[in-house]
């Protein structure tokens, strides 16, 4: 009897426990509806959204970095597709617009469960897009050294992949310290002053110190300057008269153009006498880089690619 009652009890307990587990997991599923703070207020999202459309290069980068299923993206500035550095990860992704203009019909066709948007998207667009899927616009101030980290975390939270985000951010930090060691081993202190310049058809464009790639250069030990030529309120870049190019004559010049590869940018710039006479050019310490990656992209994958560029350039120095 007692054994029977014991068995009964244990069965009852097991059943109760099983019910409890089920109810807990059920309540977890319900509680997984989380609130993500976006630029236009809180957005409710549940679970891991399956199809993610990104209207922002930084969002595409973050989505691919955390392993989400990105099904739509905008073209990079000056290009006709996503940026070259991310093409292989992005695969055959649908293009749903340009950085400043979204093709709503293309977004609908991509059938998104979540839309990630840039900080500068306007409210009407958000209202319209919200009728297709929840829209998370970045609320992170741009052009801060940690903007990309905070944006990646925000977008990752929206995608329900925060653990993956922490992992990839950790990877970037590890790479930063690795590349920083290479820089300090290869370049003597005092010779690490650098400038980041974009070469446009009309001439040079000096990039702001707060730019994503500029902050990475500083993180690995370069002393980057824009010589205060980039004015307040223009956080990205400032066009420069050729007469002012010599003020950008640092030991190192990182030179980018949009959508042409770095070497072509160098060739174009070298034809200009004002550029050819810079000390950095004469000392062969000009690094041609992709403008898509260096002056337009943000995010963990972009960071890793830029750090690879820096490491390769520094490793190429003849001792």
């Amino acid at each position: 009897m007692s054994s029977l009652s014991n068995r009964f009890h244990s069965t009852l307990l097991q059943t109760l426990a099983a019910v409890a587990v089920v109810s807990v997991s059920l309540s977890q599923a319900v509680a997984e509806t989380r609130t993500v703070e976006s630029a236009y207020g809180p957005v409710q999202i549940s679970g891991q959204p399956g199809r993610v459309v990104t209207l922002y290069e930084g969002a595409l980068d973050a989505a691919l970095a955390v392993g989400a299923n990105a099904v739509g993206a905008v073209i990079t500035r000056g290009g006709s597709d996503v940026a070259e550095y991310i093409k292989s990860e992005a695969g055959d992704i649908a293009i749903v617009g340009a950085p400043a203009e979204t093709n709503i019909e293309a977004v609908i066709a991509a059938q998104p469960d979540l839309i990630l948007a840039p900080p500068r998207i306007n409210q009407q667009q958000v209202a319209l897009l919200s009728r297709i899927a929840p829209v998370v616009a970045s609320n992170v101030p741009m052009f801060q050294p940690d903007s990309w980290e905070r944006e990646t975390r925000l977008f990752a939270k929206a995608m329900g992949r925060e653990a993956e985000a922490e992992k990839v951010i950790g990877q970037v930090k590890e790479r930063i310290s690795e590349v920083a060691q290479v820089v300090s081993a290869k370049i003597p202190a005092g010779q690490r002053d650098a400038a980041l310049v974009r070469w446009m058809p009309q001439g040079p464009l000096v990039m702001a110190e707060g730019l994503f790639s500029a902050s990475l250069l500083q993180a690995v030990g370069f002393e980057l300057t824009d010589k205060d030529l980039v004015k307040e309120g223009r956080p990205h870049s400032e066009p420069l008269s050729l007469e002012n190019l010599s003020s950008m004559d640092q030991s190192w010049v990182f030179l980018a153009t949009l959508n042409e590869d770095g070497d072509k940018a160098l060739d174009a710039a070298r034809k200009s006498p004002a550029f050819a006479r810079l000390n950095a050019v004469q000392n062969d310490q000009v690094i041609g880089v992709s403008g898509q990656l260096w002056t337009s992209a943000t995010g963990p994958l972009a960071a890793l690619a830029i750090l690879d560029d820096i490491e390769a350039a520094v490793n190429a120095i003849q001792p």
Partner: protein, 340 residues
């Protein structure tokens, strides 16, 4: 003053004084163009260079950056001023300006097309720009043939504005097709003489010289045509042939200027307007006065473009448009429009 000497073919008393004044003004503007820039080299440092000393940096800025753009500005202003005067005299319309009539836009469209097919702005041949200008001219001539249009200055300009709008739309379409080209076209279409290599000038110089020779040939018959077509025929000229030569000349000049500096609007309007104000209705005098006034206007605009946006520069085309638009309004609103 020796310029009053009767040996000079153009030295009528009425013209020599403005000519000398404009020449002096041009000289001063050339000096200013060498002295002032958007960079850290000050006017006094640049002056040291002109005086034969100065730092290495200053010498570079003056001789490699400011001198080339000054020379290119001189040639551009000369070409656009003369082209405007010729076009206005031929169409008898004080508003007939290459920029407004679509000649520059035609040239610009041709260049945009060339850039799209892979030409870079640096390697561009002025031939493409001249072909485009010629096509633009042909359309203008066609427009003047439309019944009644040729006699109404403002309607001709409206026709030109339509053509310009159409060509700009086509150019925008090209820009949408290729983003790399778009960057180059966008910059080029605004008009600038900064950072242009002097080799560009060598490419256009033969056409400019040819155009100057043509002007010498057509100036007298053109003046006769101002008396009326019948009078010109009576004097033994062939208006049709003259018109053809003028169109050719304008295309050579505008094409060269466009290849050098992009489609600068309003220069061809402002320069002959100033020249006519001092030279009177005789096209030959106007043309002479355009020689110093054209370069002076373009260079003055260029100096302004360097100074108001330092450390960057404003595109020259923006400045010429800002100067030209009020002049256009002034001419249109002036009680009676001078019929040429």
């Amino acid at each position: 003053m020796n310029a009053l000497s009767p040996t000079s073919a153009v030295a009528s008393r009425a013209l020599s004084l403005p000519l000398i004044a404009a020449g002096l003004l041009l000289f001063l503007i050339i000096i200013a163009s060498l002295l002032y820039g958007a960079g850290p080299i000050s006017a006094s440092e640049a002056f040291m260079v002109l005086a034969g000393s100065g730092s290495e940096e200053a010498r570079f800025v003056v001789s490699e950056l400011r001198l080339p753009r000054t020379i290119i500005g001189l040639v551009t202003g000369l070409a656009l001023g003369l082209a405007g005067a010729l076009l206005q005299s031929m169409t008898r319309n004080p508003l007939a300006e290459p920029g407004l009539l679509g000649v520059s836009a035609g040239s610009g469209f041709a260049v945009a097309l060339a850039i799209l097919f892979g030409a870079s702005t640096a390697t561009l041949t002025s031939f493409v720009a001249q072909l485009g200008a010629l096509a633009g001219c042909a359309l203008v001539i066609a427009a003047t043939r439309v019944q009644g249009l040729g006699n109404d200055p403002v309607r001709l300009i409206l026709a030109g504005a339509t053509l310009t709008g159409l060509l700009l739309a086509l150019t925008s379409m090209l820009m949408l097709m290729d983003q790399r080209a778009a960057d180059e076209i966008r910059f080029w279409i605004t008009g600038s003489i900064a950072g242009k290599p002097l080799s560009m000038l060598q490419a256009t110089l033969p056409s400019i010289l040819a155009a100057l020779i043509l002007i010498v040939i057509v100036a007298r018959p053109l003046a006769a045509m101002a008396l009326g077509e019948k009078a010109a025929v009576g004097l033994g000229h062939h208006p049709g042939r003259i018109r053809f030569l003028i169109v050719l000349t304008v295309a050579l000049l505008v094409g060269s200027a466009t290849a050098l500096a992009g489609p600068l609007i309003f220069v061809g309007l402002v320069v002959p307007f100033i020249a006519r104000a001092f030279a009177g209705p005789d096209i030959r005098k106007t043309l002479w006065l355009c020689v110093p006034v054209g370069p002076a206007v373009v260079l003055a605009a260029d100096v302004v473009s360097r100074l108001i946006a330092a450390p960057a520069e404003l595109p020259l085309g923006v400045v010429t448009a800002l100067i030209g638009a009020p002049v256009l309004l002034a001419i249109v609103r002036a009680g009676r429009m001078p019929s040429l």
